[in-house]
Symmetry: C2
Subunit: 401 residues, 2 copies
């Protein structure tokens, strides 16, 4: 947690009004890339996700995960003095990020237009469930709603089964990633033009954009991609199959790979010449038989052994891993350093998931632990805005901060 | 497709060596944000995904979708003259993106180090299955392998069922999004320091990063999040339920929302006071009974009617949509303009999926249709590098371009 290292965004100050997941995730990554992130929270309660389980020593581990790299100040933006303080912060900031419901900032008279008056270079980024305009703009939106309406559930699930959601908050995370892309692109444009602007993304639009290869198939054929579990209707063997103890993934689409599979792994070279299996379309026509041949062979080995044998012969394959294995894996945890530790006050050593991008000329790693509510009021209001200790005490007493 | 509009990245030239999905997707979005993308392809064959189905008038619709906004040149990077030409392009470029297997560019003597010698401001971005170092770096990696090893399959699927892949190429797309983030952050850093650098991401690391809320839960509890279909073990009713014709999603986690559901929608206010249902933990303990109550009611209505009734009473709910509905939806297709059309030579009007980020001060929209193989050889080699028509003919005859 070396704050002095060369960092990509160390000249950028972010005023972070976000709560829960999509927004905090975005500013956490920006912080990991070096940005100076000031998290602005409601006095007394703070970001509601401070109450999200699972707790460690009374602190929300969810909150720690998504709010490292930030300093926290409290601010009541409903009060007149609070609004003025926000504008002072905006004058010194480069980026403001918010993920309130679309009309909240307008009702507070803190819309982009108002804030751009005090800082025309401001980049103002909004993240919401459905975006700031359009018929659904006021609908409540959770991650599950963005998954349901964005199309990803319609193509996920067993063959013949019901639509399934993805087991992580893919709408929130993709929305956060798009907010980062939008902010960085707007920063570049500001460098060129000198002007800030408003940037917005929505969770549901973000899910729709994840679906572009499937969307394309629909636009061209008029047919919705059916749910097919782990298999592809147009290739074989390509998907998951059973070994003795567990399932494994194989991607053996090409004919020359299949010939190698038959000869070197199954030790049944005649199969590759059998007209039922020699071409992709023949194997697809005999999908179940190919699966039976493969699983009969694999029944003698563990999934780990199967994958080893396939990889040794150049056939794409992998185990299905969970975080229990990934977090101990020599590649992911070791070489790729995907799980750095932070030193969290009140908790101790705490493992997080890294930004999955490596830079040869800059350090990307946790800068700070997650802050206590209002921990940096003195530092920011005193140091950055220059308010006296008396003024800060007064603001506290009035409930402004 | 107005090339004169204010665009975020119109001062940036990208030398794009990528193929198939993750890389082409990344440069396609960068092109949509205005970058000048020069797609470098193998003479004669080009990007292998030019052969990916589904075809429209003989052209791969997959390829069009991921390669709009680019110009195409051909280049044989194995020839000495080809390497020199690539270096001339790199001198004029800002960013190079490649998604070969990790050792390919080194074997061609076109590693970051070599190219940084001719242009120290170059940002060189690599995307691969497992990254350029670590024990698995040489493993073959497809999207399905990144899903299998990144953990997302382990948490996706029915309760008690097998791990399931996400129905879109989430590893490829997330890897592409991380490449964009890396490139934009490095551009900012170059603006500050004057220096380029190497950036890299991997499909599998990208999937692991999507999983951070679930990873956190494991790090804190030591337990892997189980597969639970569309439901959450800790909240109720929160997930999908059946109406007369179809399933719908409801997110009615809080007690006050549940009370409203009972009173206003189910018209059974006594249920909210029943100690079996009055609190989240009580409802979780009676999960199946709550589901039965809800589905008994919903059996009289279509999913659309159910969602309408729930939303009218402020209870988060949604239908499960597929692209068939999304692409005709007044919000997504109408207001949010998620499906712009390009005019593709040889095809005509062709629908694509937009970048899901809106900018108030810059236009983000398709710039160009997708190019034919080598379509812009004269324009780039002649115009940008200043080669004579004779030299270009000679290079073509020798198979260098």
């Amino acid at each position: 947690m070396d704050q002095q290292a060369n960092r990509l965004l160390s000249d950028i100050t972010i005023i972070d009004l976000t709560r829960v997941l999509s927004g905090p995730f975005a500013t956490m990554w920006l912080g990991e890339m070096g940005a100076n992130v000031i998290k602005v929270e409601i006095p007394g309660t703070g970001d509601e996700s401070r109450k999200n389980p699972v707790f460690v020593n009374g602190i929300s581990s969810f909150f720690i995960t998504e709010n490292r790299n930030k300093r926290s100040i409290t601010l009541n933006m409903k009060s007149e003095e609070g609004k003025e303080l926000l504008k002072e912060l905006v004058k010194k900031g480069d980026v403001l990020v918010e993920n309130f419901r679309p009309d909240v900032m307008e009702r507070l008279s803190l819309s982009y237009e108002k804030l751009a008056e005090v800082n025309p270079r401001l980049i103002y980024c909004s993240i919401s469930g459905f975006g700031s305009y359009g018929p659904y703009t006021k609908r409540p939106a959770y991650d599950v709603v963005s998954q349901a309406m964005g199309g990803i559930m319609s193509v996920t699930g067993e063959k013949g089964g019901e639509p399934l959601k993805v087991g992580t908050s893919i709408g929130d995370i993709a929305g956060g990633m798009n907010a980062i892309i939008g902010i960085l692109a707007a920063l570049h444009y500001r460098e060129v033009t000198g002007r800030g602007q408003r940037v917005e993304t929505s969770l549901t639009d973000s899910v729709i954009a994840l679906m572009q290869p499937e969307n394309n198939r629909y636009f061209v054929t008029g047919k919705v991609t059916p749910r097919t579990g782990n298999h592809y209707p147009a290739n074989c063997p390509y998907g998951t199959y059973h070994a003795k103890d567990d399932v494994f993934m194989i991607g053996c689409g090409k004919d020359d790979l299949f010939a190698k599979l038959c000869e070197k792994v199954l030790e049944r070279p005649e199969l590759a010449k059998d007209e039922r299996y020699s071409t992709i379309s023949a194997r697809v026509a005999h999908y179940d038989e190919v699966g039976e041949i493969l699983e009969n062979w694999a029944a003698d080995y563990t999934a780990e052994e199967v994958v080893e044998k396939l990889l040794a012969n150049g056939i794409p394959a992998s185990p299905i891993l969970s975080i229990a294995e990934i977090s101990k894996d020599p590649h992911f945890a070791g070489a790729r350093q995907m799980f750095p530790k932070i030193d969290q006050p009140g908790v101790g050593e705490f493992t997080v998931t890294a930004v999955p991008i490596k830079f040869s000329g800059a350090e990307v790693s946790p800068q700070r632990p997650c802050p206590a509510l209002g921990e940096h009021n003195e530092e920011i209001y005193g140091g950055m805005l220059g308010l006296s200790p008396e003024k800060i005490s007064e603001l506290k007493e009035k409930g402004v901060i």
